[in-house]
């Protein structure tokens, strides 16, 4: 019975019905994130729950479900308890008895594990500021289901959009619907997805391919990982619809090898979908056949570029080639190929299910729907955030993200990874969509959003990204291979205080040249972090060059850490934090003393001091209130 095939929309509805009836037997469900939160002990918590419930004789009444990402990663391990929708964070196995007694037993929240607003506990997920401004269309099942179970996905509506598309729409009608919805590619460039499908549909040839790009290489972006881990059937459903639209009978999911849980979950999901007849021949009795396989990347950032990805799938070194011809006419094995990002494909079931008109009512004029951001860096609430296009950066960073920790000042948000740029505080009220972000010198990219505070040196950030793209440059074209190296050299000279002012002009010129002349997207966008920091933070570059100081106190050659003896309370915390034993004193009323010849400028003492007694000479950062 477990492998009963689903050959029609009616079969699917019947399965949904029976799963709902079955799960109705449980009066409560404990949902525990078992993906990212696994790193902080979620497995022990789940075990404690199973043991505790069984000891209390509640195993038949309360289900424990191991889910994908619930979103609020800052509070890991995170759990949700239905039907009350209480959200608990930082849960330890020893908290479990209290949760069972108070919440499962009496339906009341455990305030100490709930999120706080001021001093007030806010137990209900929907009331937590982190979630209040979000709109979860694509992430709706993520954290609500066991991703290793097709039945649970079906209970929440999975595959119904595919049944509708294959059962009652022609491929052209599907393309038309997706085009009218206005959805743009979520991988970075923002090209209208329906138009892209149309190119591939119209390309001559019987053999066509569909590729899901899950080579999420941008440092700081992890939404594709979360979707594959937490709701893999949505990815498959999106691919079935896309394949039907373009006329592909074979597909690939190209996923990073660094994501073992994602690989495991998507493979399980494919196997189960195949067993049910949702992949393979004659899907939903429509006569349409489609199957797909997972290919693991092997650690090359450039393979996120579509022509490099295809080269990698073909077993070659992952180097891009000039376009045209575009993959839509000549892609994998020279056949028409359509490539979409994970998040784009995950939007497709929503569009087909709810209709283009409904979808188009969300977002801005030029960018429809929602966008998932991976919020990280110097922000209180790191995690996954799905918001309608058009919310402001301020809403994301402060209302949802809870602002910058330790009372420090917001300096910039880095958007779009190595291809993007830094958006400064003056643009906090920018309504975010594909076009507005581009206007201020960044890109939407895949949706990584790293918050930076006043302790972040913007020259160092530019140097960091340049060093990243320089080492990831495949070396095929000269502008990228040589240009990034030269830009990196100049940035390193600025950071070490050796550069002269005229080098900034060379840097700017090189950046423009590489942008125009590089072969692929990696090279074309590589200068963006440099250009955006030069545009908004030129004063920091100049301070490094003219005054030989790093205003944020980051660049090692230009910083000296000293102890303010009057403020030092001799607590010894800095002595303990120093990894190279450079600090003497700091106890028995002898103030700490940093031996400069040993100090490695790692900033550990600065971070550890509870009294702001350590100063960074030459830096313009003020001490902020510490907690």
């Amino acid at each position: 019975m477990a492998t009963e095939r689903i050959t029609s929309a009616e079969d699917l509805a019947r399965l949904k019905e029976s799963v709902l009836e079955e799960s109705g037997k449980f009066r409560a469900r404990v949902l525990i994130c078992m993906t990212g939160c696994r790193a902080l002990g979620a497995a022990d918590v789940a075990r404690a729950f199973r043991d505790g419930l069984s000891a209390a004789g509640l195993s038949d009444e309360v289900a424990v479900v191991e889910t994908g990402c619930i979103g609020f990663c800052a509070k890991a391990p995170v759990m949700l308890i239905e039907p009350w929708d209480y959200l608990y964070g930082g849960v330890k196995p020893e908290d479990v008895p209290e949760i069972i007694e108070t919440t499962i037993g009496k339906g009341e929240p455990v305030g100490s594990l709930a999120a706080k607003v001021g001093k007030e506990a806010v137990p209900k997920r929907g009331d937590v500021p982190f979630y209040a401004k979000q709109r979860n269309l694509v992430l709706e099942n993520c954290g609500r289901i066991d991703p290793r179970s097709l039945r649970e996905a079906v209970a929440r509506g999975a595959y119904s959009a595919a049944a509708e598309a294959l059962g009652s729409k022609s491929p052209e009608e599907v393309i038309d619907e997706v085009t009218r919805s206005g959805v743009r590619g979520r991988g970075g460039a923002g090209f209208p997805a329906g138009v892209k499908w149309g190119f591939c549909r119209k390309a001559p040839g019987d053999e066509k391919y569909l590729i899901c790009n899950a080579d999420e290489g941008d440092p700081g972006a992890f939404m594709d990982r979360a979707l594959l881990e937490g709701d893999p059937h949505r990815v498959i459903e999106g691919m079935i619809i896309a394949a039907y639209a373009i006329g592909a009978s074979n597909g690939f999911i190209y996923v990073r090898a660094e994501y073992p849980i994602a690989v495991e979950h998507i493979n399980l999901a494919i196997e189960e979908a195949r067993g049910r007849g949702l992949l393979g021949d004659d899907i939903f009795g429509s006569g349409f056949s489609f199957d797909l396989e997972v290919r693991m990347g092997a650690g090359a950032f450039v393979c996120g570029e579509e022509t490099a990805l295809i080269a990698s799938l073909e077993g070659e070194r992952g180097m891009p080639r000039p376009r045209p011809p575009f993959p839509a006419t000549s892609g994998f094995k020279g056949k028409p190929t359509n490539i979409n990002n994970v998040e784009t494909l995950c939007n497709v079931p929503v569009i087909i299910g709810k209709g283009a008109k409904w979808y188009g009512s969300i977002g801005t004029e030029g960018s429809k729907g929602t966008k998932i951001f991976a919020l990280a860096g110097k922000v209180e609430n790191t995690g996954l955030v799905e918001v309608p296009m058009g919310v402001t950066l301020r809403e994301i960073v402060f209302d949802i993200g809870g602002g910058v920790p330790k009372g420090r000042e917001f300096k910039a948000a880095q958007m779009g990874g190595p291809s993007g740029g830094c958006v400064p505080a003056e643009h906090l009220d920018l309504e975010i969509d594909f076009d507005s972000v581009k206007e201020v010198g960044a890109i939407m990219g895949s949706g990584g959003l790293i918050v930076m505070d006043d302790l972040t040196c913007m020259v160092d950030i530019a140097r960091y990204f340049m060093s990243f793209v320089q080492s990831e440059s495949c070396g095929k074209c000269v502008p990228c291979r040589v240009g990034t190296k030269q830009m990196l050299t100049i940035l390193e000279r600025v950071c070490s205080g050796e550069a002269e002012m005229r080098e900034l002009d060379v840097l700017q010129r090189l950046a423009e040249d590489v942008r125009q002349a590089a072969l692929c997207g990696l090279g074309n966008t590589a200068p963006n972090p440099v250009l955006s920091t030069l545009r908004y933070f030129r004063d920091e570059y100049e301070a490094h060059i003219k005054e030989k100081r790093c205003p944020a106190g980051v660049c090692k050659s230009l910083t000296t850490f000293v102890v303010d003896e009057e403020a030092c309370k001799c607590c010894g915390k800095c002595v303990k934090a120093c990894p190279v034993d450079a600090i003497t004193g700091g106890k028995k009323k002898v103030p700490a003393n940093i031996r400069q010849e040993i100090c490695i400028h790692c900033r550990s003492c600065y971070e550890a001091c509870p009294f702001d007694a350590i100063r960074i000479e030459g830096a313009a950062v003020t001490s902020a209130a510490r907690r």
Partner: protein, 157 residues
């Protein structure tokens, strides 16, 4: 790696029989399987795979050296992977990398002489909420400071 002991080719045989006819587009999955089995890509195994599949060894070498995942030398018993993603960088990730280098006396991509640790960095582990973060084998160490690195590494034998 001096005069290595002869490489046992039986596991390779099992992989090749399982994969059946290996066409060029299956080269990367095949190398991944070989590395999964041996822990690295032994030249002897590659030569043998080349003669059995007809894929030139030069092409295998080209692919193996292009992708960061592949290595042609044996790895240590434990693999340390430090994240150098953006979130880790702004939260002091570079100091974690330096701390590992100081602790082990090896550079990125190298293995300690006692074959205990191989030290690698990766573009991003995708666990930015743990920043700065490193992995040792499959264990995560998050919210690190330089002084916590030694303690973490000391727990491995």
């Amino acid at each position: 790696m001096g005069e290595a002991t002869a490489v046992d080719l039986d596991p390779l045989d099992a992989i090749l029989s399982r994969l059946g006819d290996v066409t060029a587009d299956k080269l990367i999955p095949m190398l991944q399987e070989i590395q999964g089995e041996y822990g690295y890509l032994p030249p002897e195994a590659l030569m043998e795979a080349s003669s059995r599949t007809g894929i030139p060894a030069s092409r295998m070498y080209g692919v193996a050296t292009f992708y960061e995942q592949f290595h042609l030398e044996p790895h240590g018993r434990h693999t340390i992977r430090c994240c150098r993603g953006t979130a880790c960088h702004v939260r002091g990730g570079r100091e974690i990398i330096r701390a590992v280098q100081r602790e082990l006396g090896v550079e990125e991509g190298e293995t300690t002489e006692d074959m205990k640790f191989t030290f690698e960095t990766v573009a991003c582990l995708g666990t930015c909420f743990l920043a700065p973060v490193m992995m040792v084998d499959n264990d995560y160490y998050g919210l690190l400071t330089p002084d916590k690195v030694k303690k973490a590494l000391d727990s491995y034998s």
